[in-house]
């Protein structure tokens, strides 16, 4: 039933989820810090724009990402110049699209974490001679661990389930851009329910496993700290 060919979409999904999560973890950390800790005039607008991919219909988002990556426009031409060819219907193009589509999940979870850190803790670190960078490394990041873990799990699980955006930007090229969620759709169309079940169970299992481990980890940390001003 499950040959290497059959399992390839699932592996492509795992690869896409992993790469997207790592990229977003690095890229969204600064904006999440700013949104979580600072107040500024355009904050509502910034929050709206950054979380827009979450509420837009996937086809609309997909359509604009296609335009964004299209060599007919400046952004697409720029990517083409760097990559040597158009990013549409390629795996790197898919990574860019899934980064845009999954960014709100990472940003919101990290922003929530940053906003939960008591300002007096950061101030205390400064008064103890730690610079802002040292404070970030020695105090903020350790406190952020549960949020980073949860944000990563949520982002990974969401990316694994992307469908509309992936289909529009990546197409459905076997071994390149065909991911598990599209493969499910394809197998249902082919009336191959058994294989569709196989993909679905694997996707569901991964999602349950990720969210369960995130929640167990959070609970263990909370128990260990018995923290009355819970940061979790």
């Amino acid at each position: 039933m499950f040959t290497l060919e059959n399992i390839t979409p699932f592996l492509t999904s795992l690869k896409l989820g992993g790469i997207t999560t790592v990229i977003l973890l690095v890229v969204t950390m600064p904006p999440a810090w700013v949104l979580g800790r600072k107040n500024f005039l355009l904050k509502p607008l910034a929050e709206t724009l950054l979380t827009l991919p979450m509420i837009l219909p996937p086809t609309v988002l997909g359509f604009y990402i296609v335009l964004f990556l299209s060599p007919q426009y400046a952004s697409g031409a720029f990517f083409q110049k760097i990559a040597g060819s158009s990013l549409l219907f390629t795996f790197p193009g898919l990574v860019i699209a899934s980064c845009i589509a999954s960014a709100p999940f990472m940003i919101l979870a990290l922003k929530d974490g940053f906003s939960q850190i008591d300002t007096s803790l950061i101030e205390a670190s400064y008064t103890l001679g730690k610079s802002p960078m040292q404070t970030m490394k020695q105090l903020v990041m350790p406190l952020m661990r549960p949020y980073i873990f949860t944000a990563s799990m949520t982002t990974f699980a969401h990316t694994m389930g992307l469908f509309g955006v992936v289909l529009m930007v990546g197409g459905n090229i076997p071994g390149v851009t065909r991911v598990a969620s599209i493969a499910v759709y394809e197998k249902v169309e082919e009336l191959d329910y058994l294989t569709a079940h196989g993909y679905s169970v694997m996707l569901m299992g991964i999602s349950v496993l990720l969210m369960l481990s995130a929640n167990i980890w959070k609970q263990r940390l909370a128990e260990r700290r018995h923290d009355d001003k819970s940061i979790l």
Binding site: A124, Y126, L143, R224, R225
Partner: protein, 253 residues
């Protein structure tokens, strides 16, 4: 550490505007107590010296070096000021044990152990802040500040969560620390008794202004006064004092 500070700080507390106008000079090794009713600006004054708030106008110089000059737009970040602070809400790091909090900015483990013993924290070293009482947290906060060995100690109500006997002991311990290391201490307290109060120059604040003329204290600690106080309280050592406090706690429970 000679501190010259003169500044004006405005903020809105809810809908009420608040302004702090202060001009103070603090001599090297001096012990200063800021007193006054709640909301008079004591904590804001401490936070200004720490660099945690930026006054709109003013200047703070320490030993001739500028920590803040609004005219020149210069501001020395808190982390680069030779200070340590005890916060009213303790601000202990919740993911670190008591000993890790104390050693956060201090690599001298021997000093950490010494502070743990003096402040009766021996049995709490492996606990997290969420597992200890408010009074214990306050002692950890004081130990953490002292472990920094800075020239300027800023203490915001450092004894407020202690029972009277332990508060007396902590005053006594801090007095000894001051005498031995001679840091400059600026402390906010509502208490008007104890060895520190007797030795300090008291600056009264009222509605963001210095209300009472500040009278210079004996900058060099008066050993005679210290010894008299020690005799009156019949204390031989830290251990003796801690044992008495523990007896008192047990009797109470």
């Amino acid at each position: 550490m000679m501190i010259r500070a003169s500044f004006n700080y405005r903020i809105k507390r809810g809908r009420t505007p608040f302004s702090l106008n202060a001009s103070i000079e603090i001599a090297n090794g001096e012990l200063v107590i800021l007193s006054g009713p709640s909301g008079s600006g004591k904590t804001t004054l401490l936070r200004t010296l720490a660099g945690l708030v930026k006054p709109g106008r003013g200047q703070i110089t320490v030993n001739g070096a500028t920590w803040q000059n609004s005219a020149k737009r210069s501001f020395l970040h808190t982390s680069r000021r030779d200070i340590a602070m005890v916060f009213q809400d303790y601000a202990l790091f919740p993911d670190r044990t008591v000993i890790d909090n104390i050693l956060f900015s201090c690599e001298n483990k021997a000093l950490g152990t010494e502070l743990v013993q003096h402040l009766d924290l021996v049995e709490l070293t492996d606990r997290f802040p969420g597992e200890i009482s408010g009074g214990q947290k306050q002692r950890v906060a004081l130990a953490r500040a002292l472990a920094r060995q800075s020239s300027l100690l800023l203490l915001d109500e450092p004894f407020s969560s202690q029972d009277p006997l332990r508060a007396d002991y902590m005053q006594w311990y801090l007095y000894r620390y001051w005498k031995e290391h001679e840091p400059t201490i600026v402390m906010v307290t509502h208490s008007t008794s104890g060895i520190l109060y007797e030795m300090a120059r008291v600056i009264s604040l009222e509605e963001g202004r210095i209300a009472a003329p500040d009278i210079p204290s004996a900058i060099v600690p008066d050993v005679r006064t210290f010894e008299n106080w020690e005799l009156e309280t019949e204390v031989d050592s830290d251990a003796d004092f801690i044992a008495r406090i523990n007896d008192f706690d047990e009797e109470g429970s």
